[in-house]
């Protein structure tokens, strides 16, 4: 006699134990520390903080460790933790003009006030595997540039703004918050930017790339990319003035794009904006390209490409949502499948009965 399968409870407990065991890996190899993840897999931590919408290096490092290096899983862990945190209020908007830049480049001018500063970058590495890294060794510290000044630098864009040839940033207003309110379309630009900042880097990279290949081209130039620490301030209600509560590393991309102008507006450059926690240039640049593409309607451009389709982009950018829904196909669906089997078998039976020649005809032959 058939006996129904049972034991889901024990199966789950067993699976969790196996996962914990695999996470630890070979016991003869020292366990990785959060400090090592934070200090040496820094860019993984940066990505988890950015898409996890929570600036906390230690928590992000913990998430990376717990997720066995699966960054989308780590982002999910950090998001789920973030949502339980009490909210004290919103900070004063950060001022990236106050950044002490570690890296700052502009592609639109050969030189800019404050200078180009390459900083730490993969850009000019030859992508040759460095076998010296395969063994532990003492690594010398980078020499300190004696001429380096820890002074804030003006944004390149501000210089063009003064000429009127580049649009000014939009006036500040109360931003929306996707983590509190459902997405409502058409979305405010602040909500779009929040969505893109939390969005999957790979998805935004592909969409940004598609605009370069003609699917919604907007002729981008890197006005400026800067990376470095900025102060975060908060105005406690009982004090009524701002106090500095933290310093965070961010990467900002100010993308300058062509705009043909219209009847009323002379030709002018427009902007796409990208901002990410930590050092994340690919993310910030992709975000800036997609931000600009999503402004097509606002700028009276035709919006026919995927990157310009607000509902399409904003509904599919979130990797926690996407990963969950794609992977939910692993869950049992046998009831629906059974339902389909019943219908498809019935349809096939009908087709077969029609295809078979009637018995009487055969008898007459």
């Amino acid at each position: 006699m058939y006996v129904a399968v049972k034991g889901g409870e024990a199966a789950i407990a067993g699976s969790l134990d196996l996962l914990a065991d695999k996470r630890r890996g070979d016991r003869t190899v020292p366990e990785i520390s959060l400090a090592q993840i934070d200090g040496q897999l820094t860019l993984a931590v940066d990505r988890v903080m950015t898409e996890g919408s929570c600036y906390d290096r230690e928590l992000a490092a913990l998430a990376v460790k717990q997720a066995r290096g699966d960054l989308v899983e780590a982002i999910f862990l950090l998001r789920a933790y973030r949502t339980t945190l009490p909210r004290f209020g919103a900070s004063v908007p950060i001022d990236t003009g106050q950044m002490i830049v570690e890296r700052r480049i502009s592609a639109t001018f050969k030189d800019v006030p404050g200078g180009q500063s390459l900083g730490p970058s993969f850009d000019y590495t030859h992508r040759l595997l460095d076998f010296s890294l395969a063994v532990e060794a003492d690594r010398p510290a980078a020499p300190v540039d004696p001429d380096a000044t820890a002074q804030p630098m003006a944004h390149v864009g501000a210089i063009l703004e003064r000429e009127g040839i580049l649009e000014a940033p939009p006036a500040a207003r109360e931003p929306g918050d996707l983590t509190r309110e459902p997405l409502d379309l058409p979305a405010d630009r602040s909500v779009r930017l929040q969505n893109l900042a939390r969005g999957d880097e790979g998805f935004l990279l592909a969409l940004g790339y598609s605009t370069q290949r003609g699917y919604g081209n907007n002729h981008p130039f890197v006005g400026e990319i800067r990376h470095g620490p900025v102060p975060v301030s908060f105005i406690p209600e009982e004090l009524g003035f701002a106090i500095e509560i933290a310093e965070i590393d961010v990467t900002e991309c100010d993308m300058v794009n062509q705009f043909a102008g219209s009847r009323d507006v002379p030709p002018q450059f427009t902007r796409g904006y990208g901002l990410a926690f930590g050092h994340a240039e690919r993310k910030a640049m992709s975000m800036a390209l997609v931000d600009r593409a999503l402004r097509a309607r606002e700028l009276a451009e035709s919006a026919t490409s995927p990157a310009q389709d607000e509902e399409f982009v904003l509904s599919h950018s979130d990797n926690v949502e996407a990963s969950g829904f794609v992977q939910h196909l692993k869950l049992p669906h046998y009831v629906d499948f059974q339902s389909e089997l019943v219908v498809v078998r019935a349809l096939r039976a009908e087709v077969e009965s029609r295809a078979a020649p009637p018995a009487l005809d055969r008898a007459a032959e």
Binding site: A4, E9, I12, T84, P182, L183, D336, V342
Partner: protein, 291 residues
């Protein structure tokens, strides 16, 4: 694996009761009341990120978390079964964060959270059936844009679905839709009953229990109050009909329930058993002689 460090089934007072903070519960509770007041209409809500993946029941979990209390008895099923892994996982989650009694018996539950089935045992007044919903919009496969479907609902303009069903009749000689079969609620809103088999649709009509549907990823909640008309769409010459099996359950002998098909050997031999494990188990228990 008792004593495992991964024990997740005992009450843990370190979390807020039922995991959600009180402000989030109020937001969801306000949305639920509007959903009950406008039967079948999808209320947008500020869905939170839950510690379970999207697509795995986060909407149903948020609804349950917003309504559940210490006086409740909770039943969780997936595919009609209490012991499928995702049902076990969700039941453990609530045992851990909400200190709530759980049961596998439909009749004993005050709240039944379900994925893909409506219990065979008739529900009664006072019970709440919470559905996990992947895609709340019944028109989504026909019109992917929310902006468009929202307008269609505002106008009660559902011709696109009628056309789709009619095309199915023209092609197959019948409405070849087997699950997530669209319904009209109280003659006004078209609604997705979630991916339950159409076999279960008639149970939604004028049910004495309250039905609440939660879609976490899509951030929508909708509801059907008790004794409310839920009509499966059809045509006069092609009336709605449910799945039928020629056999009966191999365990309890029921010919009334939804049957799962089991492949029992490599030759592909088939066996049919009830999808609803509580229904099947109580029928088997009733007929077995006491040992």
């Amino acid at each position: 694996m008792s004593g495992s460090s991964n024990d997740q089934s005992t009450f843990d007072g370190g979390y807020n009761y039922a995991y959600l903070d009180e402000q989030t519960k109020r937001m969801i509770r306000r949305a639920i009341l509007k959903a009950v007041a406008i039967p079948g209409y999808q209320v947008p809500f500020g869905g939170r990120e839950m510690p379970l993946p999207y697509g795995w029941g986060t909407g149903g979990i948020q609804v349950t978390a917003a309504i559940v209390g210490r006086d409740d008895t909770l039943k969780v099923i997936d595919q009609g079964a209490d012991d499928t892994t995702n049902a076990v996982s969700i039941r453990r989650f609530f045992a851990r964060v909400a200190d709530v009694a759980t049961t596998t018996r439909t009749a004993d539950a005050t709240i039944v959270q379900t994925r893909h089935r409506v219990p065979e045992t008739s529900l009664r007044e006072g019970q709440i059936l919470v559905f996990q919903v992947p895609i709340p919009e019944p028109l989504r496969t026909l019109e992917p844009r929310e902006v468009e479907t929202r307008t269609l609902h505002a106008l009660a303009e559902y011709g696109v679905m009628q056309v789709s069903l009619y095309e199915s009749v023209a092609r197959h000689g019948r409405i070849a839709k087997s699950y997530n079969y669209p319904v009209l609620v109280d003659g006004r809103y078209m609604m997705s009953p979630s991916p339950i088999p159409k076999f279960d649709n008639p149970k939604l009509d004028r049910s004495p229990a309250l039905q609440i549907y939660g879609a976490g990823r899509e951030k929508r909640i909708y509801a059907v109050p008790p004794y409310t008309s839920v009509k499966s769409l059809d045509f006069d010459d092609h009336p709605f009909e449910i799945e039928r099996w020629t056999g009966c359950c191999a365990l309890c002998g029921s010919s009334e329930s939804f049957l799962d098909e089991m492949i029992v050997d490599d030759a592909g031999s088939r066996l049919f058993v009830c999808s609803d494990t509580d229904y099947c188990g109580s029928r088997t228990a009733a007929t077995e002689p006491a040992s």
